[in-house]
Symmetry: C2
Subunit: 662 residues, 2 copies
């Protein structure tokens, strides 16, 4: 994990590499990318490498607009890029797969070497990120990169249960994951709102629990192969014993109360839970897990295990009797009993068990893995007890926090920082989580990307890589290149805004939307009675998770003295936007709820302009003016239409600066 | 073809219908589109109608953002849209297929009736175009529409030979064609630069003539079925006896000179032509045409036939002897001989022959169809002689002309206007042509759409529908909805501009590019030695065919008195854009050629601002100022970097207004 400090800082300024490699040393000269660009393969070769090489050439052709020959070059001396792979990778990729690679670029040739095909895949992404355009044309500046990941488990969870996510959504997200060197796709396949995988052995599971929206086994194999081609493991999650309502539509006998059960439409935590006291449950799970263990080759098998509210258990005399009979102290013991039984089945089918925090219980053996949504403390406790863990706390993309927030969460900080080296080695990495209550295939990309790339850097790059400004600069370039890969996080914005206006001219609405962010954490759920049928076509659904415009404006206000003219120009634009915008909003049924936000943005801009005038004039500010601005700021800081105005803190600073007379 | 004049004009202002229906009568009230929207099918039902209904529901869900149930409603009283189809359509769609439909929308229900499934498909597109958003939500204003096409042949030619166009490009363009009621996809499958269809009987054709880029027969069947589902015929074109170089790579014995032949890389007209004197040629064509006639079900079969330069024939003693032996006057007679032989083969395999203007010859029977790239005169002559014809003159999309230019070209104007009714009936319609020398899959959509939609209206709507302003307004809405269907004509612009700058910030470049258009007709070919390997990644390739910004500015200048403030603001923006733009251009190898354009746009804006000042001041303008502006205007009107600055005429008007003192 040696970092060549000077080199890294040059990279941070000069290139768009994300995640930042472990070691980067700039060289002399530049390799030109022209229509003679060819790739040769040396050492170990397999179909996966050939396919990856073809994809690399296609992407490079798209990136540069230069038509390139797709065949693999046999004469290494003629190749601009020579790839050398030492040996085959694991038959089924595990956390032990060697992902390291070396990339040397000189003015004559680039050479990518790696022990395994997965290392080659990682290095290819680095190579593509290095290509840029200068006065001479496309090329790659000479460099030597020696790279490997910090953590072996770098995941993205996609919840396909709350909103159905068809295969193309999964595939394009696999492309993006590979681009930022994430290596685990965690598919949350079952929950109260849908059972999303075909079971040939127990067809009532998907047949009655999915409304017809599920992955066939052929779909799953297609996704698995697509993922493996990109060096990505796929870990399936089947929620048990809670969040399991969709199991019970077809098999009510598994539940702790008689039913009948339906596919749930609202979000939240439901009472329905499997009945751990029934032997028939384990017999059925043995069949199902056996089938799924054969379908999904990964060694890990996620059983969920979170948020069992215990109400069905408390109300069942049969279960209460069982507790007493086995001297269990409560539901946590009962869940531990269930988990022990489940673990035996999972292990019987050759898998290691993963579950959320709640599965932790002294009675469970040390070979399970805990995924922590509760935080580093929970992770540290598990590691001390000998369990392995992965962090998801701080990486919930559906909480709509900033990239810098996620970037600041490190699995080895806080409670985990004090662990011994051995205990630390039990922390395998982390996973970004895209829970899908408030996303559809239309806007899910915009909730995952580019923010998940900041998490990807946290998990891949050395711990000391943490310059937020550099991250944002590189994130912007990453965001652009992900769109080129087929992601829709940028391109979906404009059509969603146009739909809201019912016209082509979404420009004034965009000025407003650029300053907004959706409310955070679980606030949407607290505001509105959402179900899976609720249209996600409002301004909050189009608005991006992070306002770049507000962040940039905050940067200007930070250095008020130097930026007065820019600030004034910006504020005038925001103030005047209202005149065009309000009539558009009045005509649209969908935009009326957001009119107060538009009005307040204009008022905030006016407040900022007035504050600037007071500052310039150097005169004392009337208290009545201050009071009315504080009223405005107080109102504008509150969520409306499930949206927040993100320039409020900057305007407050301007008002305070005026008040302080500077 | 009765037009309810008052109604049409209301439509032109109030709705986004394009092409405009034959008859539109507005009603009272509005049908709301909510999450209870369901569709029922009555009368004749077939799988094509069910699939189309499902697509309609999905598109409506996407258009509104409202999740809709996809199943077909059995209870008609519960359906918001009831579709009634009288009978099955033709087994293989022909020019006689009835495409008419009636659509009645009331506040309670919409009712779409049509004699055939193809009519239903046309009506569905109309229904989707009617959906809009108002203060109450999504809905359709009550209306009665009675519609049918003006011409039975409304086509789009896509050239897949010069640049390879993969199946997804074809499919998304079929979607767009269906949306604007075009009904013929003309696939230009062979030319000197590539033989793009698999022949199982003569595998050296695609095997040696395509660089590996061709449609397999499975691809073709996939495209045919996709097209039929959308009520679109597919007419294949195999160029003979010229433009046939790619045939000769595998089969040099077919040519009029020994060869060997290669796939051609440059554009243009080549000497290589089939040798009509060889009996072996006809034997081979019999095999090939037999195979293709079975693959493509359409009754028409296009044999090309244009631009035979005759040089190989002139140089061949064997051919010259043949001419003398048969008392032929020259190459045109020889081509007619070839065409007669070819026609016999085409007819033997059950097809009608179509060819370009050049195939017209008194010796050919009247059952061939002439596609005219030469104009209405040529079309009129053919019709007078008894031939049927379709117009492509004036519809060449690769000539990069305006939508209004294409819109103004009518198959029944000029020489054709004087034909008798019987002769007129021989004019079947027209085809927009997308020759692909200067397009790739990345920017082809932007060259076809939205301009082809203006041609679609010309071919579908009554002749008297010709309000250009209304067309542009509706074209804008159509353009937006085509993007929603998956076309990339808008979304490809930004990434191409970003690639040119090598950064994320393409905003200043966009300001410039919005004022430019690529050069017209064949000027690119005259400027630059293009081949199929030439990168199409320059500013000219990103720039859109028609500058909306320049057209809108011209509108402002037209009414100078009322718009001075707007004009001044716009000009100041253009003048000042240079400061940010030039450094960006200097850093990019690809943009340096366009720096003079950026400088001139700024100078033109300054000239315009100065002209305004003179006009305001009401003072005589110094001749030296006028002279220097005229020099600038002269220079700025010339193409550079294969681009034109489209605001030159408007600036000239301002300068002239200043000179005239008003």
């Amino acid at each position: 994990m040696a970092v060549c400090a000077g080199a890294v800082s040059l990279r941070a300024e000069g290139t768009n590499l994300l995640p930042q490699p472990a070691k980067v040393s700039p060289g002399q000269g530049r390799l030109a990318i022209t229509d003679t660009f060819r790739v040769a393969l040396a050492g170990y070769v397999e179909p996966r490498l050939r396919a990856a090489t073809q994809r690399l050439i296609r992407r490079l052709a798209k990136q540069t607009g230069i038509p390139l020959k797709e065949g693999i070059e046999r004469d290494r001396s003629q190749a601009a890029l020579v790839i050398h792979c030492d040996r085959a990778g694991e038959r089924v990729q595990t956390i032990k797969e060697d992902e390291s690679y070396k990339l040397e670029v000189t003015a004559d040739q680039a050479r990518l070497t790696a022990p395994t095909p997965v290392g080659v895949l990682r290095g290819m992404e680095t190579f593509l990120q290095l290509v840029d355009l200068d006065t001479q044309g496309f090329g790659v500046a000479a460099v030597e990169i020696d790279d490997h990941p910090r953590f072996p488990w770098r995941g993205l969870l996609i919840d396909a249960s709350r909103h159905w996510m068809p295969v193309p959504v999964i595939k394009r997200n696999l492309d993006a994951m590979a681009a930022v060197k994430l290596n685990v796709l965690h598919l949350h396949l079952t929950d109260d709102q849908g059972f999303r995988v075909e079971s040939k052995r127990l067809p009532k599971l998907h047949g009655m629990g999915s409304d017809g929206f599920y992955y066939t086994q052929a779909d799953i194999r297609d996704v698995l192969s697509y993922a493996r081609e990109r060096g990505i493991r796929v870990v399936p999650e089947f929620e048990m014993p809670g969040h399991a309502g969709s199991w019970f539509v077809g098999y009510p006998e598994l539940a702790s109360a008689p039913g009948p059960y339906v596919v749930e439409r609202p979000w939240g935590v439901f009472d329905a839970a499997m009945d751990p006291t029934k032997e028939g449950l384990y017999a059925l799970l043995d069949v199902f897990i056996g089938e799924m263990a054969a379908l999904f080759p990964d060694e890990y098998f996620h059983i969920g295990g979170d948020e069992v509210n215990g109400k069905q258990w408390d109300r069942s005399p049969r279960i209460q009797a069982f507790l007493r009979r086995h001297s269990m102290k409560g539901n946590h013991d009962l869940q531990a009993y269930f988990n022990r039984r489940l673990l035996a089945i999972v292990q019987k089918h050759g898998k290691r068990m993963v579950g959320w925090d709640e599965i932790l219980h002294p009675e469970l053996p040390k070979n399970i893995v805990v995924q922590s949504w509760r935080g580093q403390k929970s992770l540290a406790e598990a590691a001390r007890q000998g369990y392995r863990g992965i962090l998801s706390y701080g990486y919930y993309l559906d909480h709509i926090q900033t990239a810098s927030f996620h970037y600041g969460v490190d699995a080895m900080e806080g409670e985990t920082a004090d662990l011994t080296e051995e205990q630390k080695s039990r922390i395998l990495g982390g996973e970004a989580c895209m829970w899908s209550e408030y996303v559809t295939p239309e806007n899910i990309d915009s909730r995952i990307w580019p923010r998940a790339a900041a998490i990807a850097e946290r998990l891949w790059s050395p711990q000391e890589v943490r310059d937020v400004e550099s991250m944002y600069r590189r994130l912007e370039a990453t965001s652009r290149s992900l769109e080129g890969l087929g992601l829709t996080h940028r391109s979906s914005y404009q059509p969603m805004l146009e739909r809201l206006t019912g016209t082509d001219d979404a420009a004034p609405l965009k000025v407003l939307a650029n300053l907004l962010e959706p409310v955070k954490f679980y606030q949407r759920w607290e505001t509105h009675p959402y179900t899976s049928f609720t249209p996600l076509n409002r301004l909050v659904d189009a608005t991006r998770p992070e306002s770049d415009a507000a962040r940039q404006f905050a940067g200007l206000v930070q250095n008020l003295g130097a930026n007065k003219e820019k600030i004034r120009k910006q504020l005038a634009l925001w103030r005047d936007n209202q005149a065009e915008l309000i009539p558009v909003m009045q005509r649209s049924a969908l935009l009326q709820e957001a009119i107060p936000l538009a009005e307040d943005v204009s008022a905030l801009a006016t407040a900022g302009l007035e504050a600037l005038e007071y500052i310039e004039a150097g005169k004392p500010v009337p208290q009545t003016w201050v009071d009315s601005q504080l009223t405005l700021l107080g109102r504008a800081a509150k969520p409306r239409a499930e949206l927040l105005i993100m320039i409020v803190p900057s305007i407050r600073k301007l008002v305070e600066a005026a008040q302080a007379g500077k």
